[in-house]
Protein backbone atom coordinates (compact mmCIF):
# COMPACT_ATOMS: atom_id res chain seq x y z
CA UNK A 1 0.00 0.00 0.00
CA UNK A 2 1.19 3.52 -0.78
CA UNK A 3 2.15 5.93 1.97
CA UNK A 4 -0.86 7.46 3.73
CA UNK A 5 -2.16 10.84 2.61
CA UNK A 6 -3.07 11.90 6.13
CA UNK A 7 -1.37 10.63 9.23
CA UNK A 8 -1.98 11.64 12.82
CA UNK A 9 0.49 10.18 15.31
CA UNK A 10 -0.26 10.70 18.97
CA UNK A 11 -1.96 13.99 18.15
CA UNK A 12 -3.09 15.90 21.20
CA UNK A 13 -4.88 19.23 21.47
CA UNK A 14 -5.16 21.09 24.73
CA UNK A 15 -6.34 24.62 25.30
CA UNK A 16 -7.23 26.79 28.28
CA UNK A 17 -10.84 26.16 29.18
CA UNK A 18 -11.47 29.71 30.36
CA UNK A 19 -12.04 28.69 33.98
CA UNK A 20 -8.35 28.51 34.80
CA UNK A 21 -7.89 24.85 33.94
CA UNK A 22 -6.66 23.26 30.72
CA UNK A 23 -9.11 21.31 28.61
CA UNK A 24 -7.89 18.33 26.60
CA UNK A 25 -10.04 18.00 23.49
CA UNK A 26 -8.04 15.33 21.70
CA UNK A 27 -5.59 12.94 23.36
CA UNK A 28 -3.06 10.70 21.73
CA UNK A 29 -5.03 10.20 18.54
CA UNK A 30 -3.68 7.92 15.81
CA UNK A 31 -5.32 7.87 12.42
CA UNK A 32 -4.25 7.25 8.85
CA UNK A 33 -6.19 8.00 5.72
CA UNK A 34 -5.22 6.63 2.29
CA UNK A 35 -5.64 8.58 -0.93
CA UNK A 36 -9.21 8.30 -2.20
CA UNK A 37 -10.48 6.81 1.05
CA UNK A 38 -13.75 7.94 2.63
CA UNK A 39 -13.40 7.93 6.40
CA UNK A 40 -16.26 8.80 8.73
CA UNK A 41 -15.50 9.85 12.27
CA UNK A 42 -18.23 9.33 14.84
CA UNK A 43 -18.28 10.00 18.53
CA UNK A 44 -20.48 11.41 21.26
CA UNK A 45 -21.49 15.05 21.04
CA UNK A 46 -18.75 17.47 21.99
CA UNK A 47 -16.02 14.85 22.15
CA UNK A 48 -13.50 16.65 19.96
CA UNK A 49 -14.40 15.49 16.47
CA UNK A 50 -14.22 18.99 15.01
CA UNK A 51 -10.89 19.61 16.73
CA UNK A 52 -9.47 16.60 14.89
CA UNK A 53 -10.41 18.22 11.59
CA UNK A 54 -8.91 21.56 12.50
CA UNK A 55 -5.63 19.79 13.30
CA UNK A 56 -5.54 18.25 9.83
CA UNK A 57 -6.56 21.55 8.17
CA UNK A 58 -3.78 23.43 9.93
CA UNK A 59 -6.26 25.98 11.32
CA UNK A 60 -5.09 24.92 14.77
CA UNK A 61 -1.66 23.57 15.66
CA UNK A 62 -1.41 20.35 17.66
CA UNK A 63 -0.18 20.69 21.25
CA UNK A 64 1.68 17.41 21.05
CA UNK A 65 2.18 14.58 18.60
CA UNK A 66 2.52 14.88 14.85
CA UNK A 67 0.16 15.56 12.00
CA UNK A 68 1.29 14.79 8.46
CA UNK A 69 -0.47 15.60 5.25
CA UNK A 70 1.14 14.34 2.07
CA UNK A 71 4.15 13.21 4.09
CA UNK A 72 4.81 16.75 5.29
CA UNK A 73 4.37 18.01 8.81
CA UNK A 74 1.36 20.36 9.07
CA UNK A 75 2.37 23.84 10.20
CA UNK A 76 -0.07 25.94 8.19
CA UNK A 77 -2.95 25.15 5.86
CA UNK A 78 -1.64 22.35 3.60
CA UNK A 79 -2.09 22.39 -0.15
CA UNK A 80 -5.08 20.63 -1.60
CA UNK A 81 -7.28 20.75 1.49
CA UNK A 82 -10.98 21.57 1.28
CA UNK A 83 -13.10 22.10 4.36
CA UNK A 84 -16.86 22.16 4.64
CA UNK A 85 -18.01 23.70 7.88
CA UNK A 86 -20.99 22.80 9.98
CA UNK A 87 -22.45 26.28 9.70
CA UNK A 88 -22.96 28.18 6.51
CA UNK A 89 -19.71 29.73 5.45
CA UNK A 90 -20.77 31.09 2.08
CA UNK A 91 -20.30 34.82 1.67
CA UNK A 92 -23.75 36.43 1.84
CA UNK A 93 -22.60 39.43 -0.24
CA UNK A 94 -21.51 37.35 -3.21
CA UNK A 95 -23.77 35.72 -5.75
CA UNK A 96 -23.73 31.94 -6.11
CA UNK A 97 -21.34 32.18 -9.03
CA UNK A 98 -18.95 34.57 -7.30
CA UNK A 99 -19.01 32.47 -4.15
CA UNK A 100 -17.95 29.42 -6.08
CA UNK A 101 -15.36 31.43 -8.00
CA UNK A 102 -13.80 32.69 -4.73
CA UNK A 103 -11.30 29.86 -4.35
CA UNK A 104 -9.70 30.24 -7.78
CA UNK A 105 -9.81 34.05 -7.41
CA UNK A 106 -7.95 33.88 -4.09
CA UNK A 107 -5.39 31.66 -5.79
CA UNK A 108 -4.76 34.18 -8.50
CA UNK A 109 -6.78 32.75 -11.40
CA UNK A 110 -7.99 35.55 -13.74
CA UNK A 111 -11.61 36.56 -13.24
CA UNK A 112 -13.02 35.29 -16.52
CA UNK A 113 -11.38 31.90 -16.20
CA UNK A 114 -12.38 31.55 -12.53
CA UNK A 115 -15.99 32.29 -13.44
CA UNK A 116 -15.99 29.74 -16.21
CA UNK A 117 -14.73 27.01 -13.90
CA UNK A 118 -17.20 28.13 -11.26
CA UNK A 119 -20.12 28.06 -13.70
CA UNK A 120 -19.22 24.49 -14.52
CA UNK A 121 -19.29 23.51 -10.84
CA UNK A 122 -22.52 25.37 -10.15
CA UNK A 123 -24.00 23.24 -12.91
CA UNK A 124 -22.52 20.05 -11.49
CA UNK A 125 -23.98 20.54 -8.02
CA UNK A 126 -27.37 21.09 -9.63
CA UNK A 127 -27.69 24.84 -9.21
CA UNK A 128 -27.75 25.74 -12.90
CA UNK A 129 -29.91 28.84 -13.37
CA UNK A 130 -29.21 30.15 -9.86
CA UNK A 131 -25.83 31.72 -10.66
CA UNK A 132 -26.96 35.28 -9.96
CA UNK A 133 -28.85 34.52 -6.76
CA UNK A 134 -27.61 35.66 -3.38
CA UNK A 135 -27.36 33.08 -0.60
CA UNK A 136 -30.28 34.51 1.38
CA UNK A 137 -32.53 33.76 -1.59
CA UNK A 138 -31.68 30.05 -1.44
CA UNK A 139 -32.90 27.22 0.77
CA UNK A 140 -30.63 25.54 3.32
CA UNK A 141 -29.99 22.59 1.03
CA UNK A 142 -29.10 24.87 -1.87
CA UNK A 143 -26.67 26.81 0.29
CA UNK A 144 -24.99 23.51 1.15
CA UNK A 145 -24.66 22.86 -2.57
CA UNK A 146 -22.99 26.24 -2.98
CA UNK A 147 -20.59 25.39 -0.15
CA UNK A 148 -19.89 22.03 -1.75
CA UNK A 149 -19.16 23.58 -5.14
CA UNK A 150 -17.06 26.28 -3.48
CA UNK A 151 -14.94 23.58 -1.87
CA UNK A 152 -14.73 21.19 -4.83
CA UNK A 153 -13.83 23.86 -7.37
CA UNK A 154 -10.35 23.94 -5.84
CA UNK A 155 -9.96 20.23 -6.68
CA UNK A 156 -8.97 19.22 -3.15
CA UNK A 157 -7.13 15.96 -2.61
CA UNK A 158 -8.38 16.02 0.94
CA UNK A 159 -11.94 16.92 1.82
CA UNK A 160 -12.68 17.65 5.46
CA UNK A 161 -16.35 17.76 6.35
CA UNK A 162 -17.63 18.82 9.75
CA UNK A 163 -21.21 17.63 10.14
CA UNK A 164 -22.03 19.52 6.94
CA UNK A 165 -25.60 18.25 6.64
CA UNK A 166 -26.64 18.21 10.29
CA UNK A 167 -28.76 21.36 9.95
CA UNK A 168 -30.82 19.98 7.06
CA UNK A 169 -34.14 18.18 7.26
CA UNK A 170 -34.09 14.40 6.79
CA UNK A 171 -35.12 14.28 3.13
CA UNK A 172 -32.77 17.03 2.05
CA UNK A 173 -30.01 15.38 4.01
CA UNK A 174 -30.22 12.04 2.22
CA UNK A 175 -30.45 13.88 -1.08
CA UNK A 176 -27.25 15.76 -0.26
CA UNK A 177 -25.56 12.54 0.86
CA UNK A 178 -26.26 11.00 -2.53
CA UNK A 179 -25.01 14.15 -4.24
CA UNK A 180 -21.84 14.06 -2.19
CA UNK A 181 -21.17 10.43 -3.12
CA UNK A 182 -21.83 11.16 -6.79
CA UNK A 183 -19.47 14.15 -6.86
CA UNK A 184 -16.84 12.42 -4.76
CA UNK A 185 -16.76 9.24 -6.86
CA UNK A 186 -15.19 11.11 -9.74
CA UNK A 187 -12.71 13.09 -7.69
CA UNK A 188 -10.35 10.56 -6.07
CA UNK A 189 -10.19 12.81 -3.02
CA UNK A 190 -9.77 11.44 0.46
CA UNK A 191 -12.59 12.44 2.80
CA UNK A 192 -12.74 12.77 6.55
CA UNK A 193 -16.40 13.15 7.37
CA UNK A 194 -17.23 14.04 10.95
CA UNK A 195 -20.76 13.28 12.13
CA UNK A 196 -22.69 12.16 15.17
CA UNK A 197 -25.16 10.34 12.94
CA UNK A 198 -24.07 6.72 12.71
CA UNK A 199 -26.41 5.93 9.80
CA UNK A 200 -24.86 8.72 7.80
CA UNK A 201 -21.37 7.53 8.66
CA UNK A 202 -21.96 3.95 7.52
CA UNK A 203 -23.93 4.93 4.42
CA UNK A 204 -21.14 7.15 3.16
CA UNK A 205 -17.83 5.76 4.32
CA UNK A 206 -15.33 2.99 3.62
CA UNK A 207 -14.11 3.12 7.19
CA UNK A 208 -15.87 4.29 10.36
CA UNK A 209 -13.69 5.54 13.19
CA UNK A 210 -15.30 5.58 16.63
CA UNK A 211 -13.89 8.13 19.04
CA UNK A 212 -14.12 7.92 22.80
CA UNK A 213 -15.85 10.54 24.85
CA UNK A 214 -13.81 13.65 25.64
CA UNK A 215 -10.82 13.74 25.50
CA UNK A 216 -11.16 12.03 22.14
CA UNK A 217 -8.97 9.21 21.03
CA UNK A 218 -9.60 6.38 18.59
CA UNK A 219 -11.57 3.56 20.17
CA UNK A 220 -12.36 1.28 17.24
CA UNK A 221 -12.07 1.29 13.48
CA UNK A 222 -14.65 -0.57 11.39
CA UNK A 223 -14.34 -1.40 7.70
CA UNK A 224 -17.59 -0.89 5.81
CA UNK A 225 -17.55 -3.43 3.01
CA UNK A 226 -20.70 -2.20 1.30
CA UNK A 227 -20.45 -2.05 -2.49
CA UNK A 228 -20.41 1.23 -4.44
CA UNK A 229 -22.12 3.03 -6.05
CA UNK A 230 -24.54 3.36 -3.15
CA UNK A 231 -28.04 4.78 -2.90
CA UNK A 232 -28.27 6.05 0.65
CA UNK A 233 -32.03 5.65 1.09
CA UNK A 234 -32.08 2.07 -0.19
CA UNK A 235 -28.89 1.06 1.55
CA UNK A 236 -30.26 1.94 4.95
CA UNK A 237 -32.70 -0.98 5.07
CA UNK A 238 -30.42 -3.73 3.76
CA UNK A 239 -29.35 -6.63 6.00
CA UNK A 240 -25.63 -5.87 5.55
CA UNK A 241 -26.13 -2.27 6.57
CA UNK A 242 -28.03 -3.20 9.70
CA UNK A 243 -25.41 -5.76 10.66
CA UNK A 244 -22.62 -3.21 10.45
CA UNK A 245 -24.79 -0.67 12.22
CA UNK A 246 -25.34 -3.00 15.19
CA UNK A 247 -21.65 -3.79 15.34
CA UNK A 248 -20.53 -0.16 15.37
CA UNK A 249 -23.31 0.94 17.66
CA UNK A 250 -22.19 -1.63 20.27
CA UNK A 251 -18.90 0.23 20.39
CA UNK A 252 -20.30 3.75 20.17
CA UNK A 253 -23.09 3.16 22.70
CA UNK A 254 -20.67 2.77 25.59
CA UNK A 255 -19.09 6.15 24.80
CA UNK A 256 -22.41 7.89 24.34
CA UNK A 257 -23.52 6.60 27.74
CA UNK A 258 -20.28 7.78 29.34
CA UNK A 259 -20.78 11.20 27.78
CA UNK A 260 -24.34 11.31 29.12
CA UNK A 261 -23.21 10.36 32.63
CA UNK A 262 -20.60 13.09 32.51
CA UNK A 263 -23.15 15.59 31.26
CA UNK A 264 -25.55 14.62 34.04
CA UNK A 265 -22.75 14.95 36.60
CA UNK A 266 -21.99 18.44 35.31
CA UNK A 267 -25.60 19.49 35.55
CA UNK A 268 -25.98 18.12 39.08
Amino acid sequence: MSSPLIELIGATKRFPSGTGSVHTAVRDLNLTVQPGEFVAVVGPTGCGKSTTLSLVSGLQPASAGEVYVNGERVTSIPDGVGYMFQNDAVMPWRSVLDNVASGPRFRGVPKVEARETAADWVERVGLGGFERYYPHQLSGGMRKRVALAQTLVNKPRILLMDEPFSALDVQTRSLMQDELLRLWSGSEAAVIFVTHDLEEAIALADKVVVLTTSPATVKDVFEVGLPRPRKVEELRITEDFLRIYREVWESLRVEVEKARMKGAANVA
Binding site: I77, A89, W93, S102
Partner: protein, 292 residues
Protein backbone atom coordinates in the same frame (compact mmCIF):
# COMPACT_ATOMS: atom_id res chain seq x y z
CA UNK B 1 -73.35 36.62 19.54
CA UNK B 2 -76.01 34.96 17.44
CA UNK B 3 -75.87 34.89 13.71
CA UNK B 4 -78.66 36.89 12.10
CA UNK B 5 -79.92 35.13 9.06
CA UNK B 6 -82.17 37.81 7.63
CA UNK B 7 -81.32 37.47 3.97
CA UNK B 8 -79.18 34.72 2.54
CA UNK B 9 -76.19 36.47 1.02
CA UNK B 10 -74.83 34.82 -2.05
CA UNK B 11 -71.10 34.60 -1.54
CA UNK B 12 -69.34 34.67 -4.85
CA UNK B 13 -65.84 33.26 -4.99
CA UNK B 14 -63.32 36.06 -5.41
CA UNK B 15 -61.31 36.04 -8.56
CA UNK B 16 -57.59 36.70 -8.49
CA UNK B 17 -58.12 40.16 -9.99
CA UNK B 18 -60.62 41.03 -7.31
CA UNK B 19 -58.17 40.05 -4.56
CA UNK B 20 -55.38 42.06 -6.12
CA UNK B 21 -57.63 45.05 -6.79
CA UNK B 22 -58.84 44.99 -3.20
CA UNK B 23 -55.28 44.93 -1.93
CA UNK B 24 -54.20 47.75 -4.28
CA UNK B 25 -57.09 49.86 -3.12
CA UNK B 26 -56.26 49.29 0.55
CA UNK B 27 -52.62 50.26 -0.02
CA UNK B 28 -53.64 53.34 -1.97
CA UNK B 29 -56.10 54.48 0.65
CA UNK B 30 -53.58 53.99 3.43
CA UNK B 31 -50.92 56.00 1.63
CA UNK B 32 -53.34 58.85 0.91
CA UNK B 33 -54.52 59.00 4.52
CA UNK B 34 -50.92 59.04 5.76
CA UNK B 35 -50.13 62.06 3.64
CA UNK B 36 -53.35 63.85 4.55
CA UNK B 37 -52.63 63.37 8.23
CA UNK B 38 -49.08 64.66 7.81
CA UNK B 39 -50.38 67.73 6.00
CA UNK B 40 -52.92 68.31 8.76
CA UNK B 41 -50.16 68.21 11.39
CA UNK B 42 -48.08 70.77 9.49
CA UNK B 43 -51.05 73.07 8.94
CA UNK B 44 -52.09 72.89 12.60
CA UNK B 45 -48.53 73.54 13.76
CA UNK B 46 -47.74 76.46 11.44
CA UNK B 47 -51.27 77.89 11.72
CA UNK B 48 -51.22 78.00 15.51
CA UNK B 49 -47.74 79.53 15.45
CA UNK B 50 -48.83 82.19 12.96
CA UNK B 51 -51.95 83.04 14.99
CA UNK B 52 -50.20 83.14 18.34
CA UNK B 53 -47.39 85.29 16.97
CA UNK B 54 -49.89 87.65 15.34
CA UNK B 55 -52.17 88.15 18.37
CA UNK B 56 -50.48 87.10 21.60
CA UNK B 57 -46.69 87.02 21.55
CA UNK B 58 -44.09 89.34 20.11
CA UNK B 59 -43.02 88.21 16.64
CA UNK B 60 -39.82 90.24 17.03
CA UNK B 61 -38.47 87.55 19.36
CA UNK B 62 -40.37 84.47 18.20
CA UNK B 63 -40.93 85.30 14.55
CA UNK B 64 -43.70 83.59 12.60
CA UNK B 65 -44.06 81.40 9.50
CA UNK B 66 -45.04 84.25 7.14
CA UNK B 67 -41.96 86.29 8.17
CA UNK B 68 -39.67 83.29 7.77
CA UNK B 69 -41.16 82.56 4.37
CA UNK B 70 -40.61 86.19 3.34
CA UNK B 71 -36.97 85.98 4.51
CA UNK B 72 -36.38 82.81 2.54
CA UNK B 73 -37.98 84.33 -0.55
CA UNK B 74 -35.82 87.42 -0.17
CA UNK B 75 -32.63 85.36 0.17
CA UNK B 76 -33.37 83.26 -2.86
CA UNK B 77 -34.55 86.11 -5.10
CA UNK B 78 -32.50 89.15 -4.03
CA UNK B 79 -29.72 87.45 -2.07
CA UNK B 80 -28.36 87.81 1.45
CA UNK B 81 -26.52 90.89 2.73
CA UNK B 82 -23.27 89.01 2.06
CA UNK B 83 -23.82 87.67 -1.41
CA UNK B 84 -25.96 85.05 -3.08
CA UNK B 85 -27.61 82.40 -0.87
CA UNK B 86 -26.24 79.73 -3.21
CA UNK B 87 -22.74 80.87 -2.42
CA UNK B 88 -23.46 80.58 1.33
CA UNK B 89 -24.92 77.10 0.88
CA UNK B 90 -22.04 76.00 -1.33
CA UNK B 91 -19.57 77.17 1.30
CA UNK B 92 -21.22 75.17 4.07
CA UNK B 93 -21.88 72.06 2.00
CA UNK B 94 -18.34 71.92 0.59
CA UNK B 95 -16.90 72.19 4.11
CA UNK B 96 -19.22 69.46 5.34
CA UNK B 97 -18.58 67.13 2.40
CA UNK B 98 -14.81 67.55 2.44
CA UNK B 99 -14.60 66.97 6.19
CA UNK B 100 -17.08 64.10 5.94
CA UNK B 101 -15.01 62.29 3.31
CA UNK B 102 -11.75 62.66 5.21
CA UNK B 103 -13.28 61.87 8.60
CA UNK B 104 -15.23 58.85 7.34
CA UNK B 105 -12.22 57.42 5.50
CA UNK B 106 -10.02 57.82 8.58
CA UNK B 107 -12.73 56.31 10.76
CA UNK B 108 -13.13 53.27 8.51
CA UNK B 109 -9.40 52.62 8.18
CA UNK B 110 -8.62 52.98 11.87
CA UNK B 111 -11.80 51.20 12.92
CA UNK B 112 -11.05 48.18 10.75
CA UNK B 113 -7.41 48.02 11.83
CA UNK B 114 -8.25 48.16 15.53
CA UNK B 115 -11.20 45.83 15.00
CA UNK B 116 -8.86 43.20 13.61
CA UNK B 117 -6.05 43.72 16.10
CA UNK B 118 -7.11 42.91 19.62
CA UNK B 119 -3.75 44.01 20.98
CA UNK B 120 -3.73 47.46 19.37
CA UNK B 121 -7.33 47.93 20.42
CA UNK B 122 -6.45 47.12 24.04
CA UNK B 123 -3.50 49.52 23.99
CA UNK B 124 -5.42 52.42 22.46
CA UNK B 125 -8.79 51.90 24.18
CA UNK B 126 -8.29 54.44 27.02
CA UNK B 127 -7.07 57.13 24.62
CA UNK B 128 -10.01 56.65 22.29
CA UNK B 129 -12.48 56.66 25.15
CA UNK B 130 -10.96 59.88 26.48
CA UNK B 131 -10.92 61.53 23.07
CA UNK B 132 -14.54 60.59 22.58
CA UNK B 133 -15.47 62.08 25.94
CA UNK B 134 -13.89 65.45 25.12
CA UNK B 135 -16.56 67.98 24.09
CA UNK B 136 -15.12 68.13 20.60
CA UNK B 137 -17.46 70.84 19.37
CA UNK B 138 -15.47 73.28 21.50
CA UNK B 139 -12.45 72.51 19.35
CA UNK B 140 -14.12 74.64 16.67
CA UNK B 141 -12.97 77.74 18.56
CA UNK B 142 -9.43 76.41 18.76
CA UNK B 143 -9.38 75.52 15.08
CA UNK B 144 -10.37 79.09 14.15
CA UNK B 145 -7.27 80.28 16.00
CA UNK B 146 -5.10 77.63 14.35
CA UNK B 147 -6.41 77.60 10.81
CA UNK B 148 -8.03 81.02 10.42
CA UNK B 149 -11.49 82.03 9.21
CA UNK B 150 -11.39 80.04 5.97
CA UNK B 151 -12.19 76.50 4.90
CA UNK B 152 -9.50 74.74 6.99
CA UNK B 153 -10.94 75.39 10.42
CA UNK B 154 -14.42 74.19 9.43
CA UNK B 155 -13.14 71.04 7.76
CA UNK B 156 -11.10 70.24 10.87
CA UNK B 157 -14.18 70.60 13.07
CA UNK B 158 -16.19 68.36 10.77
CA UNK B 159 -13.46 65.71 10.75
CA UNK B 160 -13.28 65.37 14.52
CA UNK B 161 -17.06 65.01 14.71
CA UNK B 162 -17.43 62.55 11.83
CA UNK B 163 -14.43 60.43 12.71
CA UNK B 164 -15.76 59.01 15.95
CA UNK B 165 -19.25 58.35 14.63
CA UNK B 166 -17.78 56.19 11.85
CA UNK B 167 -14.89 54.77 13.83
CA UNK B 168 -16.95 53.01 16.48
CA UNK B 169 -19.21 51.34 13.93
CA UNK B 170 -16.34 50.27 11.69
CA UNK B 171 -14.58 48.90 14.78
CA UNK B 172 -17.60 46.87 15.89
CA UNK B 173 -18.27 45.72 12.34
CA UNK B 174 -14.72 44.50 11.83
CA UNK B 175 -14.63 42.78 15.22
CA UNK B 176 -17.92 40.93 14.79
CA UNK B 177 -16.94 39.19 11.57
CA UNK B 178 -18.03 35.57 11.52
CA UNK B 179 -15.01 33.40 12.42
CA UNK B 180 -16.36 30.70 10.12
CA UNK B 181 -16.24 32.98 7.08
CA UNK B 182 -12.61 33.87 7.74
CA UNK B 183 -11.60 30.23 8.24
CA UNK B 184 -13.45 29.27 5.09
CA UNK B 185 -11.73 31.97 3.05
CA UNK B 186 -8.33 30.95 4.40
CA UNK B 187 -8.94 27.32 3.48
CA UNK B 188 -10.06 28.44 0.03
CA UNK B 189 -6.68 30.09 -0.33
CA UNK B 190 -7.13 33.71 0.78
CA UNK B 191 -4.09 35.56 2.08
CA UNK B 192 -4.26 38.11 4.89
CA UNK B 193 -5.06 41.08 2.67
CA UNK B 194 -7.58 39.11 0.67
CA UNK B 195 -9.38 38.13 3.87
CA UNK B 196 -9.50 41.80 4.82
CA UNK B 197 -10.80 42.88 1.43
CA UNK B 198 -13.26 40.12 0.67
CA UNK B 199 -14.48 39.15 4.14
CA UNK B 200 -13.85 41.82 6.75
CA UNK B 201 -14.75 44.91 4.74
CA UNK B 202 -17.99 43.54 3.23
CA UNK B 203 -19.09 42.24 6.65
CA UNK B 204 -18.44 45.63 8.21
CA UNK B 205 -20.13 47.51 5.37
CA UNK B 206 -23.62 47.42 6.83
CA UNK B 207 -22.26 48.74 10.14
CA UNK B 208 -20.28 51.46 8.41
CA UNK B 209 -23.11 52.55 6.14
CA UNK B 210 -25.57 52.85 8.97
CA UNK B 211 -23.11 55.15 10.76
CA UNK B 212 -22.84 57.40 7.70
CA UNK B 213 -26.40 58.63 8.19
CA UNK B 214 -25.57 60.01 11.62
CA UNK B 215 -22.11 61.07 10.49
CA UNK B 216 -23.37 63.35 7.72
CA UNK B 217 -25.68 65.02 10.20
CA UNK B 218 -22.62 65.61 12.38
CA UNK B 219 -20.75 66.96 9.36
CA UNK B 220 -23.35 69.66 8.79
CA UNK B 221 -23.43 70.51 12.49
CA UNK B 222 -19.63 70.74 12.48
CA UNK B 223 -19.58 73.05 9.46
CA UNK B 224 -22.29 75.32 10.86
CA UNK B 225 -20.74 75.50 14.33
CA UNK B 226 -17.34 76.13 12.75
CA UNK B 227 -18.78 79.04 10.80
CA UNK B 228 -20.56 80.25 13.87
CA UNK B 229 -17.26 80.30 15.74
CA UNK B 230 -15.70 82.55 13.14
CA UNK B 231 -16.01 82.90 9.37
CA UNK B 232 -16.73 85.16 6.44
CA UNK B 233 -19.37 83.10 4.65
CA UNK B 234 -21.70 80.13 4.99
CA UNK B 235 -25.07 79.33 6.49
CA UNK B 236 -23.57 79.30 9.99
CA UNK B 237 -22.24 82.76 9.33
CA UNK B 238 -25.76 83.87 8.34
CA UNK B 239 -27.07 82.49 11.64
CA UNK B 240 -24.36 84.24 13.60
CA UNK B 241 -25.13 87.49 11.80
CA UNK B 242 -28.88 87.10 12.28
CA UNK B 243 -28.31 86.59 15.99
CA UNK B 244 -26.23 89.78 16.12
CA UNK B 245 -29.03 91.78 14.50
CA UNK B 246 -31.91 90.20 16.50
CA UNK B 247 -33.22 88.74 13.25
CA UNK B 248 -35.03 85.63 14.51
CA UNK B 249 -36.66 85.00 11.12
CA UNK B 250 -33.17 84.79 9.61
CA UNK B 251 -32.12 82.10 12.12
CA UNK B 252 -35.20 80.03 11.33
CA UNK B 253 -34.67 80.48 7.59
CA UNK B 254 -31.08 79.26 7.86
CA UNK B 255 -32.22 76.31 9.94
CA UNK B 256 -34.71 75.33 7.27
CA UNK B 257 -32.04 75.49 4.57
CA UNK B 258 -29.74 73.19 6.55
CA UNK B 259 -32.59 70.81 7.24
CA UNK B 260 -33.36 70.52 3.53
CA UNK B 261 -29.69 69.92 2.73
CA UNK B 262 -29.54 67.20 5.41
CA UNK B 263 -32.66 65.51 4.05
CA UNK B 264 -31.25 65.48 0.52
CA UNK B 265 -27.98 63.98 1.81
CA UNK B 266 -29.93 61.44 3.85
CA UNK B 267 -31.76 60.36 0.73
CA UNK B 268 -28.47 60.04 -1.15
CA UNK B 269 -26.87 57.92 1.55
CA UNK B 270 -29.96 55.72 1.78
CA UNK B 271 -29.70 55.22 -1.96
CA UNK B 272 -26.03 54.28 -1.73
CA UNK B 273 -26.83 51.89 1.12
CA UNK B 274 -29.48 50.08 -0.90
CA UNK B 275 -27.10 49.70 -3.80
CA UNK B 276 -24.21 48.37 -1.77
CA UNK B 277 -26.33 46.07 0.35
CA UNK B 278 -28.35 44.46 -2.42
CA UNK B 279 -27.23 41.07 -1.12
CA UNK B 280 -29.06 41.51 2.17
CA UNK B 281 -32.56 40.13 2.72
CA UNK B 282 -35.01 43.04 2.51
CA UNK B 283 -34.14 45.06 5.55
CA UNK B 284 -36.51 47.00 7.69
CA UNK B 285 -35.90 50.65 6.99
CA UNK B 286 -34.81 52.05 10.30
CA UNK B 287 -32.23 54.57 9.21
CA UNK B 288 -31.50 56.72 12.19
CA UNK B 289 -31.80 60.24 10.90
CA UNK B 290 -29.48 62.67 12.56
CA UNK B 291 -31.16 65.51 14.33
CA UNK B 292 -29.87 68.89 13.29
Amino acid sequence: MSLDTTAPILVQPETEEMILARQRKAVHRRRRNTWLLRLAIVVAWLGSWELTATYFIDPFFYSKPSLIWARLAHWFTVGTDFGSIWYQMWTTVSEAVLGFLIGAAAGVVLGVILGRSQYLADVLAPFIKAANAVPRIVLASLFVIWFGLGLGSKVATVIVLVFFAVFFNAFTGAREVDRNLIDNARILGARRLQVLKSIVLPSATSWILSSLHTAFGFALIGAVVGEYAGSKAGVGFLISNAQGTFDSAGIYAAMIIITVVALVAEWGIGHLENRLLRWRPSMSHTSDQAVI
